[in-house]
């Protein structure tokens, strides 16, 4: 395990544990395969957006609905599926308060009190780092073997 993995495996003080990385990997790979199957390879940006959305969706699904950020991501995903909006990337300009910046970064952070926001930030950061690790592993494996 690399350092990031060990950083991810810090004990969660909450009784509900974070998402298992295995489930996250399965979900993401399945979503990735679906994206690769359904989306033509002609438009890499559209595919990239879909992959990114799939990444967030897999994160949120594996995190479950007990977290506010995962609920927000899923809600936004459903809305976006209807509205066909852009990727769940947020334009976060660190203007004004730091807490406001964090609120804008963490999905569902608007209207959250500060304590809950920190808690959600912790969980979201953990899941996000896990996801990044997973994607990095896939990209590394694919790029090292694909060429």
């Amino acid at each position: 395990m690399d350092s990031k993995g060990s950083a991810c495996s810090n004990p969660n003080p909450n009784p509900t544990f974070g998402p298992s990385k295995l489930m996250l990997a399965f979900r993401f790979l399945r979503a990735l395969s679906i994206v690769h199957r359904t989306t033509p390879a002609s438009s890499p940006t559209c595919r990239g957006r879909r992959i990114e959305r799939a990444a967030y969706a897999s994160m949120a699904y594996s995190a479950g609905t007990s977290r506010a950020w995962s609920r927000a991501v899923l809600r936004r995903l459903h809305h976006r599926a209807r509205r066909r909006a852009v990727a769940p990337r947020r334009l976060s300009t660190t203007a004004g308060n730091r807490a406001e910046a964090l609120r804008r970064l963490v999905p569902g952070g608007a209207g959250m009190d500060y304590c809950t926001l920190l808690e959600e930030t912790a969980d979201y950061t953990k899941c996000l780092s896990m996801q990044v690790e997973l994607m990095q592993g896939i990209v590394d494996s694919a790029s090292s073997n694909g060429r």
Partner: protein, 526 residues
């Protein structure tokens, strides 16, 4: 008023152990001041001096560490008490300036020059503060300490304080003015304690029990002259005390009510309360450390009303004739500090603790956050980290999308079937694993088992993991003959999943100490 004066004269004459010439002198001084009593209406101001004298007298009585005075000292003190008694009886109605001058002279003639200076300064302070009691009483206690250990003096002082407690509520009851409450507040130790208890919630019942002892004592001393319903007066004192808060400015009242919890144990610990009898004195000595301990315990985190109630109850148990030490400066400081004990501040403190705990958690999560100090910098670091992670996800998804079609072929051919197959059989296996791991970690958290049992349990978990791992590893190895050229990729994916498995186990353990043990045990397995 006539009755009060009569009380004073009677008390002076009844005072045992007092030389007759001193007694007569005190009576003459009292008679000198008697005609002035009809002229004056501003009798609010002398009461503050009375408070001052009360506190000074109690400090006279109180300080336990002192050399024994000579016999003439006791005589002087007897005269002092006599004059004080006359002042207390007649000075209620005497003009303030004259009263002050007589007071200072009365105090300074028996004593040396430093107490006189002290008294005059204290008088000025009291005038400047508008009758607010001054913490200079400690200094007065230090100055008056040579006279303290005389038992006869303490007894006389106790009688005096008892009389004061008797007299001023009677006065207040006679006049029924709002100032009367104030007067009785500052008049004597009992009424001052009534103030303290009136500040608390259950203060109404305790002062009733308090002045009953002075009542009995004054009855024994004065031969049944104390005819007043003391309990009624005490309750009226407490009632008036709640009304006096409206008369004073609100801040002072708040400060008093908040600072009593601190101020009362301080005074009780510093000053030995003059008791009418020796047995009660020993009782007071016995219950004093308990009171200070309880007050210290109370002063920590408890809400204000509880604190006051506790202290008030203890004071009520301690009994009467406790010398008042109302240090106003303490009260002010305490008021500012005591605001941290109301419910809002407590909730705020809980919230802050929670936030700091979350911050600590985030500090563990975010790399490089251990080095920065301060919440703002930590928040900056966290924000940067989350932003970088989101950008990384974006970048990696773009990279995944832009990967060459071999990967797509790989993903399409390899993963969907196997993933569907694996996912078809995974939920039955992963979820029990998760349940087992979480249950295991719960058990580990609950029992606090040492590392050995942790390792053995982890062996069990590992054993249960093995079929799952084989099932997970099986699809890539089965795909190997079909997909030539991607063997390394699939093996790496397998390695990735093994890492995931390892990570699942680690998460199930929830402990960083299990990392080494698991890595050392999961290696021979595969």
């Amino acid at each position: 008023m006539e009755k009060e004066r009569f009380f004073g004269v009677n008390w002076q004459s009844m005072d045992a152990g007092m030389p007759p010439e001193m007694n007569s002198g005190a009576a003459a001084a009292a008679a000198d001041q008697l005609p002035n009593s009809f002229l004056n209406l501003g009798w609010e101001q002398p009461m503050h001096h009375d408070v001052h004298f009360e506190s000074a007298l109690s400090s006279l009585v109180s300080s336990p560490s002192s050399n024994a005075p000579a016999g003439n000292d006791s005589v002087i003190i007897g005269e002092l008490i006599g004059r004080l008694g006359s002042i207390c009886n007649s000075g209620e109605v005497s003009p303030p300036s004259r009263y002050q001058s007589t007071n200072t002279s009365c105090y300074s003639t028996p004593l040396n020059s430093p107490p006189r200076l002290n008294l005059s300064t204290m008088d000025h302070q009291q005038q400047g503060r508008g009758g607010v009691p001054v913490p200079g009483n400690q200094m007065a206690a230090g100055k008056f300490s040579p006279f303290a250990a005389d038992p006869g003096f303490t007894e006389r002082a106790a009688r005096f304080s008892c009389f004061g407690a008797r007299g001023y509520p009677g006065l207040g009851g006679q006049f029924g003015l709002p100032e009367a409450g104030k007067l009785s507040r500052v008049s004597s130790s009992q009424s001052l304690k009534a103030v303290q208890l009136g500040a608390s919630d259950n203060g109404k019942e305790v002062p009733v029990s308090e002045p009953e002892r002075p009542e009995t004592e004054t009855r024994s001393k004065f031969g049944g002259e104390a005819e007043f319903g003391n309990s009624q007066e005490a309750s009226s004192v407490s009632d008036r005390m709640t009304a006096v808060g409206a008369e004073n400015n609100a801040r002072k009242r708040k400060a008093a009510s908040k600072g009593k919890a601190k101020g009362a144990p301080l005074s009780s610990s510093n000053m030995n309360p003059p008791k009418p009898s020796d047995g009660e004195k020993s009782d007071a000595k016995r219950c004093k450390p308990a009171e200070t301990d309880g007050a210290d315990k109370d002063a920590a985190v408890k809400p204000k009303t509880e604190e006051n109630g506790d202290v008030g109850r203890k004071q009520g148990e301690e009994g009467n004739a406790k010398p008042p030490e109302p240090p106003k400066d303490y009260i002010h400081v305490r008021a500012r500090r005591g605001q941290a004990t109301d419910s809002h501040s407590l909730a705020e403190r809980v919230r802050r603790e929670k936030i700091s705990e979350r911050m600590k958690l985030l500090q563990d999560l975010v790399p490089g956050c251990n080095k920065v100090t301060g919440k703002a910098l930590m928040l900056d670091e966290i924000i940067n980290y989350v932003q970088s992670l989101q950008r990384q996800v974006e970048f990696l998804s773009m990279k995944l999308a832009a990967l060459n079609p071999q990967l797509d072929f790989n993903m399409e051919t390899l993963l969907p079937k196997d993933m569907h197959q694996a996912l078809g059989q995974l939920p039955q296996q992963v979820y029990p694993l998760d349940m087992a791991s979480t249950a295991f970690s719960y058990a580990q958290q609950l029992q606090g088992t040492p590392l050995q049992s942790l390792v053995t349990n982890s062996l069990d978990v590992q054993g249960s993991l093995n079929p799952l791992e084989s099932s997970l590893r099986r699809p890539p190895t089965m795909q190997l003959p079909r997909l030539d050229g991607f063997a390394d990729a699939t093996s790496q994916l397998g390695n990735l999943w093994e890492d995931d498995l390892q990570y699942v186990v680690q998460m199930g353990l929830g402990q960083s100490q299990g990392t080494t043990a698991f890595s050392s045990q999961s290696m021979p397995v595969e």
